[in-house]
């Protein structure tokens, strides 16, 4: 093995990238299997100009979920992402339940007093946008928000790389 080629790859064999790859491939295959099994979608309709929208949503959810699982609970954003996914799935399954209650609980994020003061530093507008982008960014102070953003960016890059390679391989 040429060490040069692997300098990008983390020395940890079970790094985020490898974990994500495995998890994502597993989920992806599962989705494809389900897709194949469904009567409406035919295996020869790979060139279907209008793929089911929810299928793409499923793939995206699978990707995000496997990424968050790969990161684990170490990071606030991964926890928030997992929670979001579970919550959405839960909400979908049980629409008759008291959604409003859940929503209220969801919005009980602790609003640190520091947040407002922090955001002044970098501009309220920017901070708000960043909080929207990063999962779980609503209830963080600016310092940890920036921290989470950095890690989130790294993981997003990994995710994009892996998905690109998968896509590349599948579409050849």
């Amino acid at each position: 093995m040429n060490p040069k080629t692997y300098h990008h790859i983390s020395s940890n064999p079970s790094s985020v990238k490898s974990r994500f790859t495995r998890g994502f491939l597993r989920a992806f295959k599962k989705i494809k299997r389900q897709q194949r099994l469904l009567p409406t979608s035919s295996s020869s309709s790979s060139s279907n100009p209008s793929p089911r929208p929810y299928l793409y949503g499923r793939v995206k959810i699978a990707a995000d979920k496997s990424l968050a699982l790969a990161v684990g609970s170490r990071r606030a954003w991964s926890r928030a992402l997992l929670w979001k996914i579970h919550y959405k799935a839960w909400r979908q399954r049980s629409r008759f339940n008291n959604k409003k209650k859940l929503l209220k609980e969801n919005k009980k994020n602790k609003k640190n007093k520091k947040k407002k003061n922090d955001d002044e530093e970098v501009g309220f507008r920017h901070a708000k946008e960043l909080r929207k982008l990063v999962p779980g960014g609503e209830a963080m102070d600016l310092c940890s928000l920036l921290d989470e953003t950095a890690h989130y960016i790294k993981c997003l890059i990994t995710q994009v790389q892996v998905m690109k390679s998968v896509d590349q391989i599948y579409s050849f």
Binding site: A63, E121, L133, V134, C143, K164, S165, S171, F172
Partner: protein, 410 residues
């Protein structure tokens, strides 16, 4: 005795310069210790200690002043260990300073020395100072604080300043209780010192044996506080006696604990921003939090969009491949991480206006609704050269074989 000591004092600048140059290395090292030492007292210095990056250079320069006099002080004390007061009155400028020097030196010097980790000087100071200290206790404490501020400003007696700084640094918190705005007035300083000296005695962390030091510290603390306040008015005025040694990282900075904590926070935030700057491509030249945040937001958005597009593409992919390939896939994906990075870079290079590989989006968007066969050509044009180059770079032979096998299977 008078001459040499006074001579030493009268030529503070050259001495200081030499001392500074001599001690530049040591002072730099001790400056970090001085940071803590000063920091405990003065707010600006506290912030310095906590935000190390801040004004290190100024801190160093000031610390040089602070530390350079130490040998001078030492010598003074050693030389005129017993009758400093008697020796110095000849020199009016030193009347105030001289008694202070031993006074401060006895107390503060050992303190400062200990904080700076100079055991030798501390020993010497301790040995030399105590006898001088008691007589100077009453008058010296009061004067020293005031004089220290003034002298340091005039750069005539950096020692005092250093000592005062140290004392101020240590007992800064007490100063507000007895701080008064008028610094140039020695009497006022004396009075002020008297007050804090009584109050801040408890705050001093030194041992009880150095009680006179405590008084000095409190006095110096009050002085430091005044200096800090006056610092806002005239940051670097040489003549104004209000200026202090403490290295103010920023001019006109508030000096209460809130602003200190805020400064620490700001340091943390700027540090994180720097890390982010490294992550986001093409942000090396950007200075300013707003622009930087804009870039970060754009980058995150683009990454998320990429994920969406890729998932859309994958949704349309035809999963004809065998399951055996999965292992190869995972291996290949892991191996081709650098390939992925190269791809990203390549695509970004393709489209300079959209550095986040929107080029790929533009390429894929029209291709998604169309038939599949359009995908491979797009990939081949973009990716193949990169992959081939990567393979040539010396990838693991197994991975190369696997990718070749993959392509053949496809």
């Amino acid at each position: 005795m008078n001459c040499p000591s006074s001579g030493m004092n009268t030529n503070p600048l050259p001495q200081k310069v030499s001392g500074m140059s001599m001690n530049s290395m040591s002072t730099y090292k001790s400056s970090s210790g001085a940071d803590h030492f000063f920091g405990s007292g003065w707010d600006p210095i506290v912030s310095l200690s906590q935000g190390e990056n801040f004004g290190v250079s100024s801190m160093v320069s000031h610390c040089e002043f602070a530390t350079s006099p130490y040998p001078v002080v030492m010598e003074n004390q050693v030389i005129s260990s017993t009758a400093n007061l008697a020796q110095y009155p000849s020199d009016p400028s030193f009347v105030e300073l001289v008694p202070k020097i031993p006074v401060f030196g006895s107390g503060n010097f050992s303190e400062m020395v200990s904080s700076f980790g100079l055991p030798e000087t501390a020993r010497i100071a301790n040995s030399g100072c105590p006898p001088n200290y008691t007589p100077n206790k009453d008058s010296g404490n009061e004067r020293t604080s005031t004089n220290v501020a003034q002298c340091f400003e005039d750069r005539q007696i950096s020692e005092e300043a250093a000592i005062g700084a140290s004392t101020n640094g240590k007992t800064r918190k007490r100063a507000p209780e007895s701080s008064s705005p008028s610094n140039p007035d020695k009497n006022a300083n004396e009075e002020r010192q008297k007050d804090p000296s009584g109050e801040s005695s408890g705050t001093v962390k030194e041992q009880d044996e150095k009680k006179p030091k405590i008084e000095q510290n409190t006095g110096a603390n009050s002085r430091g506080k005044q200096a800090a306040k006056q610092a806002k008015d005239s940051s670097n005025s040489v003549e104004a006696p209000k200026e202090y040694i403490h290295v103010r990282a920023k001019r006109g900075q508030a000096t209460n604990s809130h602003s200190l904590a805020e400064r620490v926070r700001r340091e943390k935030i700027s540090e994180r921003m720097r890390l982010l700057q490294e992550l986001v491509p093409g942000c090396n030249k950007i200075t300013g939090k707003a622009v930087m945040l804009d870039e970060i937001i754009n980058y995150v958005q683009s990454l998320q969009q990429q994920v969406e597009f890729l998932s859309m593409k994958l949704a349309t992919v035809n999963p004809e491949l065998n399951i055996d390939i999965e292992r190869i896939l995972s291996k290949d994906i892991l191996h081709s991480r650098s390939g992925g990075a190269a791809i990203l870079g390549f695509s970004s290079g393709m489209n300079s206006s959209q550095p986040y590989s929107h080029g790929i989006f533009q390429g894929t968007m029209p291709s998604i609704p169309t038939a599949n066969p359009q995908f491979p050509p797009l990939h081949q044009t973009i990716l193949d050269p990169e992959l081939q180059s990567l393979f040539q770079m010396g990838f693991d032979s197994g991975s190369a074989v696997d990718s070749a096998r993959l392509k053949s299977e496809l």
